[in-house]
Symmetry: C2
Subunit: 320 residues, 2 copies
Amino acid sequence: MIETGFPTGGPTLGELGEREVIALIRAQAPSPLNGDDAAVLTQAAPNSRVVASTDMLVQDRHFTAQTTTPYLLGRKAALQNFADIEAMGARPIAALMAVSAHPDTPAKVLEELAHGVGEMASDYACELVGGDVTGGDYLVVSVTAMGALGGNRPPLTLDGARPGHRVIAHGRIGYSAAGLALLQAGVDIPPQLEPLVAAHQVPELTPGRGVVARAAGACSMTDNSDGLIRDITQLAAASGVGIDLASNALAPDQLLVQAGTLLGVDPWEWVLGGGEDHTLIGTIEGSAPVGFRSIGAVTKKQGVRIDGSSPATDTGWESF
Amino acid sequence: MIETGFPTGGPTLGELGEREVIALIRAQAPSPLNGDDAAVLTQAAPNSRVVASTDMLVQDRHFTAQTTTPYLLGRKAALQNFADIEAMGARPIAALMAVSAHPDTPAKVLEELAHGVGEMASDYACELVGGDVTGGDYLVVSVTAMGALGGNRPPLTLDGARPGHRVIAHGRIGYSAAGLALLQAGVDIPPQLEPLVAAHQVPELTPGRGVVARAAGACSMTDNSDGLIRDITQLAAASGVGIDLASNALAPDQLLVQAGTLLGVDPWEWVLGGGEDHTLIGTIEGSAPVGFRSIGAVTKKQGVRIDGSSPATDTGWESF
């Protein structure tokens, strides 16, 4: 069943006041590291390096009450930062969340948001260790994730792709954009298409795949946040290489085709330009590690191609 | 000379687009650690622990174009996070900045903001290593700071104050609130009171004082962000102790008295309830470390007092 909507009843942030709101948030995502001026992270493995990333989600730009719930938003806000940590080949170890919201916002909204962030953190075996709450006219959620990069191998940077590498992917491609299109179309969404909506609300990744890929010898990685072609183009450019994608590895599946038919949209647009799937996309010499599939090859010839030709679309998310 | 106001001309964020805006920001605060999915922090000293804190600043709540400039806002946003790191006895090692702004915002605003953050980071011998930019209706700035806590001594937590400790402070108290009051009063500000305004726009702390205090044996610390009495009350409560402040160590100086006379305000209100000075306030057995002064004593008897009596005000910043 598709869940959307924000709670409307109960005491507001303004009625409860800052301290009580913070207490509600901490109760939803308890951590012994939280509660001081700054969180002292549990010591990672010796010689591990710390990795950090941040993302900001703004109401009516990245989400609306018509497309998600605070709980799902919290899960997604955490996940997309964890995907950035994983895309370096690192393991998330902590998250911070800063939130701005109107004083008339029901406290339940921040409670459920924190529950979502805390639960996703827990899925990744880490914790929400601190944050900030403040007033504003609408909801803004900024999550920062920190990770540990153990061992001596280099991180999985954008510039590590080399000709001859296999291009590998973990996670859905195109589902998030299709799910959003279904939610925005105002149509009755057939139950069999609900996985697309669920993938938009919270993309599904298996925790630890970035670490696995690094251990298996992957050399570069990113996540599909702004659009497949756009993000792969960035990786290819940073590495000074080209990438040939295989259409049969990317071809829209049954669900995407059905959604495309329902909405009169070519599902390839979702696959190539959709973004927000947070698919881990990397390159490796040799075979794809567990959980990854092969979607193409790195070439000496610059540019991104599908079966040797320019992709039909290279649109993607634009912040402004 | 007092500087306020936001730039209004030149290309907007929407005109330049996300990538070019990010390039402008990175040019203002260059770091080789920036530019990938996540920043891999330079390895801190062996056995050091990582400390993290985040703060969100919202236009027309925490700042306005009438009280600051983007450059000063950037300096302050970084400093107040670094103060949280220092208040643990740790050394800032990196900052991340997420910004939401209206697409019509002149790009110069984010450029100057990034310049301020980058410059303050540089004052603390660290770097702006990553971030996020996104659209919105008004300016929201979320800075996350990370620090390194070396050695085996415990961090300077809120619960480390013990009866018999001396209460110590580094930095001004009351200046920020006085400076804000001057800016908001719409009066001609006499040149000799400009230091109060400057202290509101960017509080002045000497980098490294938190580390010095920890090395000298301090046991607890916080920073005066919400109001002196409010923050000290929180520290005392977390430690299960009381605190007796000495009025002669807190008494408004010449500048505060002059500003109070000008505006018809009792300057003690700024000292006790003002906040945003980010004064480092801690407790230590023995004498005050270099850069700190003594402002009171920790007692067995619970509560916060001034010369043995309840303070006249315990108001402070409230987020909602």
